[in-house]
Homo-oligomer: 345 residues x 2
Amino acid sequence: MRVTLKDIARAAGVSIMTVSNVINGKHERVSAETVERVRRIVAELGYVPNGSARSLAANSSRLIGLLVPAESEVSLTISPHNIAIVGQIERRLRQRGYHLLLRGVSDTAEIGEALRSWSLDGAVLLGFLDEEVDRLHRRVTGATPVLAIDSYSDNPLTTGVRTDDFTGAHLATSHLLSLGHRRIVFAAPSFTDVGVVHERFLGFQAALRDAGASLRDCPTETVNTTHDDGVELGRRLLANHPEATAIFATADILAIGIIEGLHDTGVPVPERVSVVGFDDLDISAYITPKLTTVAQDIVGKATHAVDRLLDLAEGGNHHTEPLVLDVRLVVRNSTAVPRPTARNH
Amino acid sequence: MRVTLKDIARAAGVSIMTVSNVINGKHERVSAETVERVRRIVAELGYVPNGSARSLAANSSRLIGLLVPAESEVSLTISPHNIAIVGQIERRLRQRGYHLLLRGVSDTAEIGEALRSWSLDGAVLLGFLDEEVDRLHRRVTGATPVLAIDSYSDNPLTTGVRTDDFTGAHLATSHLLSLGHRRIVFAAPSFTDVGVVHERFLGFQAALRDAGASLRDCPTETVNTTHDDGVELGRRLLANHPEATAIFATADILAIGIIEGLHDTGVPVPERVSVVGFDDLDISAYITPKLTTVAQDIVGKATHAVDRLLDLAEGGNHHTEPLVLDVRLVVRNSTAVPRPTARNH
DNA sequence: CAGACACGGTTTAGCGCTATACTTGGTGGT
DNA sequence: ACCACCAAGTATAGCGCTAAACCGTGTCTG
């Protein structure tokens, strides 16, 4: 059978509460010898506290939910960039003595169920649109802390951790500008609902302004953030924008598709069109040409997200300002000086 | 405050047990009208059962652990192929009304803690070496069902779900042989401890035999299953094996590295060397040339793994034979007929 | 030398739920 | 008319743990 506090207590000749106190490190109430003795017996008998009983009694579970979008039971839709974050979040939670409940959410109503059913001590929202974050958060009853990653929602309660998207886009765009590009296509999903994308657009715009370039020469292409949409865009890019010499995509996976689409139609990258992405996925260094991109601090994002959430869960201070993580431009081979002959396509 | 069974019972004018029975679908003991009334009140009050209390009382949690290797607190080491499986497992568990606890395991002793702490109803082992599976399983006390994915351990209790590695390797190798290749390098991690790799080697060997090719012409290269090791191998491949015209790597990520390494040294793929991988990662279709590879049934693997585990957890029958999933050869552009001039490099 | 207080505990109550045994009023068979 | 049995419940106990209140000693303080 399972070893319980009672067994330890009997073996150690103390009360069950003393054992409980030892296990929870409340040593002020227990003598050093008793601590020692109880510890030994715990180890001998291989006692493991029962999490359910604990969370029932203490109303706290040391369990954190990681909620990710799931489209109607079909599958989880974690972007390649966010996948890497999942692992890092688990690692950090484990380090801090918590467990991770991974949960796909297809219906906003589900979040309350998820949180309350396990008396989660907190939840991380990963990969949701800003309005979804708001909608989800409204469902959270009680004081369970919730933190959103990469959200631009102005809800102070979900204020979380994000990348410096503005600077990232500025860096990427400035890189293209400094190479001499003036006709740069901005490829992104519809940014009315995605704060991240909007912010990157602002960075793009600012970089153009700072360099004295004309925004009018730089059209926007609205696409989904998928490889296939990238391919499709790459194929028709020069037909739609014959003057363009460069393209900035707000995601590597998109940029990779664009490069493939350009290749399909015989457009050399970077000779004819330079391509810059955003994320620095592993695979971005594996394709040909290797992708110039903006690297995000994945480990930092995950670690700080967990730390902030746990600070909150453990009754600590509440940050009202989002934590903004640094970015880094990674110059590889998908960008070059524009061909002087670019105009006479 | 939180809504409990008691609140529902009071509002419905019945006992707490009746409500419990309604919620758990034990309708034999409750009249239809009562079921209806209780149901309505549950919905009105937004009652959500408390998982902790449930698992404490019923000693079953509807919680399944997904254990993945974690190297000493540094990070999770989920291979690209296995990452896709995680999401599919979550989806299937959710469909069947379970929750997923994701846990990195760096020390085999941890598994008992993980299982017992939350009275997990079962656990899936993903990405462990066979001997680790055995070691982990020995730690599992009690009757908690454990299922390993892609394990060749002969422990009948961990018998799980795997890909038809033999046929996959046979398919890949036969494809190369049918193109005319006779000097094929087998690139894989050390397969003394990895059943999957060993099985793929057997498939490789069998294909050679079936085609009347000589195994002596086909050297084995032992490398880690990483992109970087692939690059390194690709760079020295023809120096070490000047006669080789093809290489079969037991993982796409490795194959992708190999292609890059070959390119680095000016060896054209597939003109001079054909490359075949195994897994069919998304990215394998994004690189240049697009990788010929063996596709695994990820959805099937995840779905059947969950179904088998839950069958067991719910007291169902125990399968002693592992479930073997079909593979499919995906021919793309990294393989071609060997150059007749291959010998006079 | 009484009272305050620290030390090292113990006792009690209860978290929200489920399993099990018990109850009660009707039905049917003989 | 009597017992057996069924449908539709209720009452009780307990899962393993923690929070909070309580309880003897001994020691220090005024």
